[in-house]
């Protein structure tokens, strides 16, 4: 089934997330956070993911590893999973590539993030989990449809604020 996904994120949460991810970390090159949201059903093939919270990762929950931009420990993952369960939400792993351009997942991103996101499906399979990637001037998102293994590009992202910002992805 070709699922059509539209992600909506309030401007306040978007700015909070981006601001947090832009901060320097004592030893990690990048920061990681999680956007939490709920599904809004339109019909069997179109769904909204409505972001309602941002969860930053504590400084102390990063693992020092100069082979990757950022690595978080099991404690951090446990906290995220607990929040998914407690709030019955979907979670989007998020980080920032602090340069302009069309967002794309790095080789390390593609290897390391999807397995984590797939594990979220076991906690709350009814919600949609995935990845949200910021670039300095753009953003993009990929999700894993419920019950599926493949990762697909979200079709549209709206940052809900004044003004609205709407991006459509083919």
């Amino acid at each position: 089934m070709n699922l059509n996904i539209h992600i909506k994120i309030p401007r306040t949460i978007y700015n909070t997330a981006k601001s947090d991810l832009s901060r320097n970390h004592p030893y990690a090159l990048e920061r990681v956070g999680f956007l939490f949201g709920k599904v809004g059903k339109i019909n069997s093939v179109s769904k909204l993911i409505l972001i309602n919270d941002y969860f930053p990762i504590d400084d102390t929950d990063y693992i020092e590893d100069d082979q990757v931009g950022a690595k978080i420990n099991s404690e951090a993952i446990h906290k995220v999973m607990q929040k998914i369960l407690d709030t019955n939400s979907g979670a989007l792993h998020t980080h920032l590539h602090n340069f302009p351009g069309v967002p794309s997942l790095s080789k390390v991103d593609k290897q390391s993030i999807p397995p984590l996101v797939r594990s979220f499906q076991h906690i709350v399979p009814s919600q949609i989990h995935g990845i949200f990637l910021f670039h300095s001037n753009h953003h993009k998102s990929w999700i894993i449809p419920p019950g599926a293994n493949n990762i697909k590009l979200a079709n549209k992202i709206t940052v809900v604020g004044y003004p609205l910002s709407i991006n459509i992805y083919e």
Binding site: L48, V160, Y162, I166
Partner: protein, 267 residues
């Protein structure tokens, strides 16, 4: 597409033409206010519409329903609006519901912006609740004419409100409150004569469209997201409502925790 059609509005931004073609607008209520709005959106270049109205054109609508002619009496209002759009846009996508929006709510959730041209406080409350739940900006317009009292002339009033998720809602603004809802409910079944005129609707609709364009394009650079304009039809003025001075920026009635499909908690 005629290249010159959008050239006089190029100040709205390089990508504005494409933006208007891709944004989906829901218009709920196709009478005096809604018909103006749709006509303007079509002129501007909007191509995607979801429109709701259960009514057919009546003789009494012809004093104000833009696009309707004498030949349209007995025709669904949506049919008239479809014609207005098709006369201006080459390939529009128009989802029509000859019903109240509550009968077909799912498509509404696809909208990037909802414009409400409704007659009652309770309908506005319900529509705003859905808009908030699905993080859709909601633009509301309305007018009324209060009868003459003690020899004074009738009073014509109206409002334009932008209800932006996260920011003050119509309850925060004091526009929707239990007193007005209770009073309206007490008059249920005694709808009676509901005065409406084309020029007042035109002012409200045009201003609402302008606000919508600002919201979509940001062309003015304004960052003031709370908009509540009060129309005085006797004085011909449109001003920020005095209540704005006392309103909290953030909404307490629709927290982000409650967005998405409703979930009930067991207790």
């Amino acid at each position: 597409m005629n290249e010159n059609r959008s050239s006089r509005q190029s100040f709205l931004g390089n990508h504005s033409e494409l933006l208007f073609q891709s944004v989906k607008v829901a218009v709920v209520g196709l009478g005096g206010g809604g018909s103006h709005i749709i006509q303007q959106l079509a002129h501007i270049g909007f191509d995607k519409y979801v429109i709701y109205d259960p009514q057919k054109v009546e003789e009494t609508n012809l004093n104000r329903m833009v696009g309707a002619t004498s030949y349209d009496v007995g025709v669904y209002k949506s049919t008239v609006m479809k014609r207005v759009i098709r006369n201006l846009r080459e390939n529009p996508s128009i989802r029509i519901y000859n019903s109240n929006w509550q009968a077909n709510p799912e498509t509404l959730r696809e909208a990037d912006i909802i414009i409400g041209c409704l007659d009652s406080f309770s309908e506005r409350r319900d529509l705003e609740a859905t808009a908030r739940r699905y993080l859709i900006p909601y633009l509301d317009i309305g007018m009324d004419v209060f009868p003459s009292i003690s020899g004074q002339p009738p009073r014509m009033v109206g409002q334009i409100i932008l209800s932006l998720p996260g920011k003050a809602c119509m309850q925060c603004l004091g526009y929707l409150n239990e007193t007005s809802l209770a009073k309206e409910a007490a008059q249920y079944g005694a709808a009676g004569y509901h005065p409406q005129v084309v020029w007042a609707n035109g002012i409200l609709a045009s201003t609402a469209v302008g606000i919508g364009i600002q919201l979509l394009t940001g062309w003015t650079g304004s960052t003031k997201p709370i908009i509540y304009l009060s129309y005085d039809g006797n004085l011909n003025t449109l001003n920020p409502h005095p209540r704005l001075k006392f309103v909290d920026q953030e909404c307490t009635h629709y927290p982000f925790q409650n967005i998405g499909d409703p979930t009930y908690r067991s207790i």
